[in-house]
């Protein structure tokens, strides 16, 4: 079930299981992921044109995604983090819809299994 989820969201199940030991643990972290606020903070900051806050939120979200081994989402979050770090705010706004799309896929899939 968890393995299926990682396939659906293009994540790295092998890494996740080695890191979190078993499916029950992963499930616990999936709940934490839903509760994590960094995505909302990033969304708000982009809407408010606040580049600094957006960078911090993206940076945090990146760490979370990497820890969860959500490879596909991780990749776009990493891209937007680097654009924000370089203060290319317009470029970041351009990429953001892709982040939204991938994030929503992940959230929907998680809701199915918990």
């Amino acid at each position: 079930m968890i393995k299926q989820l990682y396939q659906n969201i293009e994540g790295d199940y092998e890494t996740a299981i080695s890191r979190m030991q078993n499916d029950e643990r992963i499930q616990k972290y999936l709940k934490f992921f839903l509760a994590d606020e960094s995505y909302m903070q990033l969304k708000n900051a982009i809407e408010m044109n606040d580049c600094d806050s957006a960078f911090r939120a993206a940076h945090t979200l990146k760490g979370v995604c990497q820890n969860m081994a959500f490879s596909s989402l991780s990749k776009v979050v990493e891209e937007i983090t680097e654009e924000l770090r370089a203060k290319n705010f317009e470029k970041a706004v351009e990429i953001f819809p892709e982040v939204v799309e991938k994030y929503e896929i992940v959230v929907n899939e998680i809701k199915k299994v918990i």
Binding site: T15, R19, M20, Q21, R25, K28, Y29, F32, F33, A35, D36, S38, R56, H59, T60, K62, G63, V64, Q66, N67, M68, A69
Partner: protein, 360 residues
């Protein structure tokens, strides 16, 4: 008590949980979700915390401020900090180490690596702390045995120097007073003549050496040493040799490199030299006479003047000081007289105190 608590400071719950899962059961774990909380926990539990995982970017106070607080409160020496960071860039790594972090771990966490690094750092710190504690204990022990040695040294020097006094039927306190006056004058000399770079330790050695200034008198026959009347020229010539005899005795135990030996030798030999070159035994002139001997010389004369002897009454302190100044009792260097003046108040105070105890 062995410290066994980890503090995890990270604003992201998932990051904290991942670390917690790695160390659960092996350590007691405390969590902080921002810098302020981390500081509060550190202040309360700094004696239990064995390591801090610290995220740099956190709300309220950030990781940097947490480390600053630790530095200011002396926690960095006992609590290692492992920085948690998202990416490995040379700049951020260098910055973390500059701040005093012991190590950096990157997200995503690899449990095996994190565990090993954490253990290594904790062991390293515990080892260092125990070495430092050991060192402190040793230093204390050394200090105590040094103190004991000094005490027995003092005892031996005093016992040795009192041998002469005992024989010559003089008041046993002369040597103690010469020591006291020598110390007062040398202390003023140190302040007046910083160019000599006299240390407190050197002063201490000179003061101890001053106790032995008349040790050579042990070799003077009773017929001369204890003679009540005036000495004949021949007898006086023999009496003067106590300076040489003292040195001969010391030479049997020569330690050329030893500062204390040098002071003892110089004081024994030269404490009857005069600034104008008319003293004995070598007729040294001016600043060729070692300072320690000059100081003991004036202290010796001063004490002779203010104390009562079998053959004479004591002078008043004021008269004694004036006589030394006027060259009535030996010729001293202008620098020494200037120093003697500078020390006047302390000398008077010490002399009055001595005379008080003598009466009692």
């Amino acid at each position: 008590m062995k410290r066994n608590t980890l503090l995890i400071a990270d604003d992201v719950l998932i990051n904290r949980e991942l670390l917690k899962d790695i160390f659960e059961g092996k350590f007691n774990i405390l969590e902080a979700s921002n810098g302020e909380e981390a500081i509060q926990i550190l202040d309360e539990k700094k004696d239990e915390i064995v390591l801090l995982f610290l995220d740099l970017i956190m709300p309220k106070k950030d990781g940097l401020e947490v480390m600053k607080h630790m530095v200011l409160n002396g926690m960095m020496d006992t609590i290692p900090v492992i920085m948690i960071t998202g990416e490995a860039t040379v700049e951020s790594d260098v910055k973390a180490y500059e701040l005093g972090a012991s190590d950096i771990i990157y997200k995503p966490f690899e449990p095996a690596v994190v565990t090993r690094r954490t253990q290594n750092i904790i062991e390293l710190f515990e080892h260092r702390i125990s070495i430092e504690n050991e060192l402190e204990i040793r230093t204390q022990e050394l200090y105590e045995s040094k103190k004991k040695l000094e005490q027995s040294n003092d005892f031996l020097i005093n016992a040795l120097s009192s041998v002469v006094e005992f024989r010559s039927l003089e008041s046993g306190e002369h040597i103690q007073r010469v020591k006291k006056f020598t110390k007062i004058i040398l202390r003023h000399w140190k302040v007046l003549h910083t160019e000599d770079q006299l240390t407190d330790e050197q002063i201490e050695l000179m003061v101890n050496a001053s106790a032995l200034h008349d040790i050579g008198k042990i070799a003077i026959p009773d017929s001369i040493l204890l003679k009540p009347g005036k000495l004949t020229e021949e007898e006086y010539a023999e009496m003067k040799k106590h300076t040489i005899y003292g040195c001969k005795m010391l030479e049997n135990f020569k330690q050329e490199e030893n500062e204390f030996y040098r002071y003892c030798y110089n004081i024994c030999r030269y404490h009857h030299e005069r600034y104008d070159g008319r003293g004995y035994p070598d007729g040294l002139k001016g600043d060729a006479i070692p300072i320690c001997a000059q100081v003991v010389s004036v202290a010796d004369v001063y004490d002779a003047l203010v104390s009562k002897r079998v053959y004479k009454n004591s002078f008043t302190i004021e008269d004694a000081i004036r006589m030394i100044h006027d060259g009535e009792c030996g010729i001293f260097s202008p620098k020494l007289l200037e120093c003697f003046d500078d020390a006047k108040e302390d000398l008077i105070e010490a002399t009055e105190k001595e005379q008080q105890t003598m009466k009692e």
